[in-house]
C-alpha cells in the first residue's frame, strides 16, 4: 500500500499597512491626468488619445494591484516558503537554499518597480542590499530579508518571530 504524506502548508499574514491607499491615490492621479486632456481638447485630439492610451492601462493596473492587496501572504510548506500577491507574484524560496535570514532597514535608490510607503512589490534595487524581490507591506523599514545563493527576498510577516521560528523548525526537519 502506498502512503502519501500530507504536505501541510501554514499561511502567515503580512504586517498591516495602508499601502493600498497609495495604489488607489496613484490610480486616481494618473487617471485624472489621462482624462483631463480628452475633456478639454475632445477625444479627436491626437494628444488626448495618446495620453488616454498610456494612462488608462496604468490606472487599471494600479487599481487591480490595490484590489489584490488583501491576498498578500507567506506560505510555509515542507520544502519552501512561497510569497504570494494575487496571481502576479509567486516567489518560491526553497528552504534548503536559504543562507541567511535577517531583519534590516533598507536604503533607497531612485529606481523602483512598485514601492510606496506601506507596499513594495517585484524586484527593487536597494542601496544597501542590491536587488531584492519584494512582497512586503513596508518599502524600507524592518524588512525580513531572506537570502539564497541566487536571490534576495524581502517580506514583512505580521508575527515575525513566529514566522522565523516556524521556518527554522521546518528547516531542521
Amino acid at each position: 500500500m502506498e502512503i502519501q504524506l500530507a504536505d501541510t502548508v501554514r499561511s502567515f499574514k503580512p504586517r498591516p499597512s495602508y499601502g493600498w491607499c497609495w495604489l488607489i491615490l496613484l490610480a486616481v492621479i494618473i487617471g485624472a491626468l489621462g482624462i483631463a486632456p480628452a475633456l478639454a481638447l475632445g477625444i479627436d485630439s491626437t494628444n488626448a488619445r495618446i495620453t488616454l492610451l498610456i494612462s488608462v492601462p496604468v490606472t487599471v493596473a494600479f487599481l487591480i494591484l490595490a484590489f489584490w492587496f488583501p491576498t498578500m501572504r507567506y506560505e510555509l510548506s515542507r520544502e519552501a516558503i512561497i510569497l504570494r500577491y494575487g496571481p502576479v507574484i509567486t516567489y518560491r524560496i526553497l528552504l534548503k537554499e536559504i543562507r541567511t535570514i535577517r531583519r534590516k532597514n533598507l536604503t533607497m535608490t531612485i529606481w523602483s518597480s512598485i514601492r510606496f510607503p506601506g507596499i513594495a512589490l517585484f524586484k527593487i534595487p536597494y542601496g544597501n542590499a542590491g536587488e531584492v524581490k519584494m512582497c512586503a507591506t513596508s518599502a524600507l523599514n524592518n524588512i525580513l530579508l531572506i537570502e539564497t545563493e541566487k536571490e534576495k527576498y524581502g517580506l514583512t510577516p505580521d508575527n515575525e518571530e513566529e514566522f522565523v521560528a516556524a521556518v527554522r523548525a521546518q528547516m531542521e526537519v
Binding site: A40, I50, R103, K104, N105, T107, W111, G127, V164
Partner: protein, 252 residues
C-alpha cells in the same frame, strides 16, 4: 474670472512640492533642514527672464544691429546666442542664493552639496512655473481653455523641477570640490540645460511635432534620473548603510 492657467499652476505647485519635497525628505535621510532653501529660488526665474536675458539680448542685438525681438526669424547666430543665453544665465542665477551665508554654510560635504543644489533647482523651477503661468495668462490664445486643459503644463513642470534640481546639484557639487571642478561643474550644468532645451527649440522651428517632444521629455527624464543616481552614489555616505540596525536570525 481669473485666468484658468492659474488654477492649474496652483495644482502644479502643490503636487510638485508634495512629490519633490517628499523625494528630498526621503532620500536625504528624513531631514527637513534643506527645506527653507525652497523660498530663495522662487523669484529667480522672473529676474532671469524679465531683466537679465532680455537686457543681454538687447545689448548684443544693438551691438550687432539685430532686432532682439525677431525670435526665430533673426540671424542664425543670434538665435543660437539666445538659445545658449538661457542655460548660461540660469545656471549661474540658480546658485546665487549660496551668496547668503546661512545657505552656503549648509554645504558642508559633497552629500549636502547634492541636496542643497537639488533644493535650489527645485525652488527655481517652482518660480519658473509661476512665471510661465503668468506669461500664458497674458496670451489671449489660451483664454478659452479650461484649467484641466493645461495638463501638459502640469506634466512638464513636474519633470522640470527634477531636471533643474539635478543641473544645479551638478554645479554645487563642483563648487564644493573646488578648483577646476567649479568651471567644470558650471559647464556640465550648462551643457545639460542646453541639451534639455534642444527639443523645444526644434519644435519652435517646426522640425519636430509636439508628440516627439513629449517622448524625448520622458527619455530625458530617465537620463537625468541616471545622472542623479550616479551623483548620489558618488557622494554616498557609507555610514548610511551601517546606520540601520540589523538582526540576524539565521546564517549558514
Amino acid at each position: 474670472m481669473i485666468p484658468q492657467i492659474y488654477v492649474m499652476s496652483a495644482i502644479t505647485l502643490l503636487l510638485s512640492l508634495a512629490l519633490w519635497g517628499g523625494f528630498i525628505y526621503l532620500f536625504s535621510g528624513r531631514t527637513l533642514r534643506y527645506f527653507w532653501l525652497l523660498v530663495l529660488g522662487l523669484p529667480l526665474s522672473a529676474i532671469a527672464n524679465l531683466y537679465i536675458k532680455q537686457q543681454a539680448a538687447i545689448i548684443v542685438g544693438q551691438a550687432a544691429h539685430v532686432q532682439p525681438g525677431l525670435g526665430l526669424a533673426g540671424p542664425e547666430w543670434f538665435v543660437g546666442f539666445k538659445v545658449l543665453l538661457t542655460p548660461l544665465v540660469e545656471e549661474i542665477l540658480k546658485i546665487s542664493p549660496l551668496l547668503i551665508r546661512p545657505a552656503w554654510k549648509m554645504v558642508t560635504s559633497r552629500a549636502s552639496a547634492l541636496w542643497v543644489g537639488l533644493v535650489l533647482g527645485v525652488s527655481f523651477a517652482l518660480g519658473e512655473a509661476v512665471f510661465i503661468a503668468y506669461a500664458v495668462a497674458q496670451n489671449a490664445q489660451y483664454a478659452s481653455i479650461p484649467w484641466y486643459g493645461f495638463t501638459g503644463y502640469l506634466n512638464e513642470r513636474l519633470m522640470t523641477c527634477f531636471t533643474h534640481g539635478v543641473m544645479t546639484a551638478v554645479f554645487v557639487i563642483g563648487i564644493k570640490r573646488g578648483g577646476w571642478f567649479i568651471p567644470m561643474g558650471y559647464l556640465a550644468a550648462v551643457s545639460l540645460h542646453f541639451f534639455l532645451n534642444i527639443p523645444v527649440v526644434l519644435y519652435q522651428l517646426q522640425w519636430i511635432s509636439v508628440e516627439i517632444v513629449n517622448i524625448i521629455a520622458v527619455v530625458t527624464l530617465c537620463i537625468f534620473a541616471v545622472i542623479f543616481e550616479r551623483l548620489r552614489r558618488s557622494v554616498y555616505d557609507a555610514n548610511e548603510a551601517e546606520n540601520s540596525h540589523e538582526i540576524v536570525y539565521m546564517r549558514r
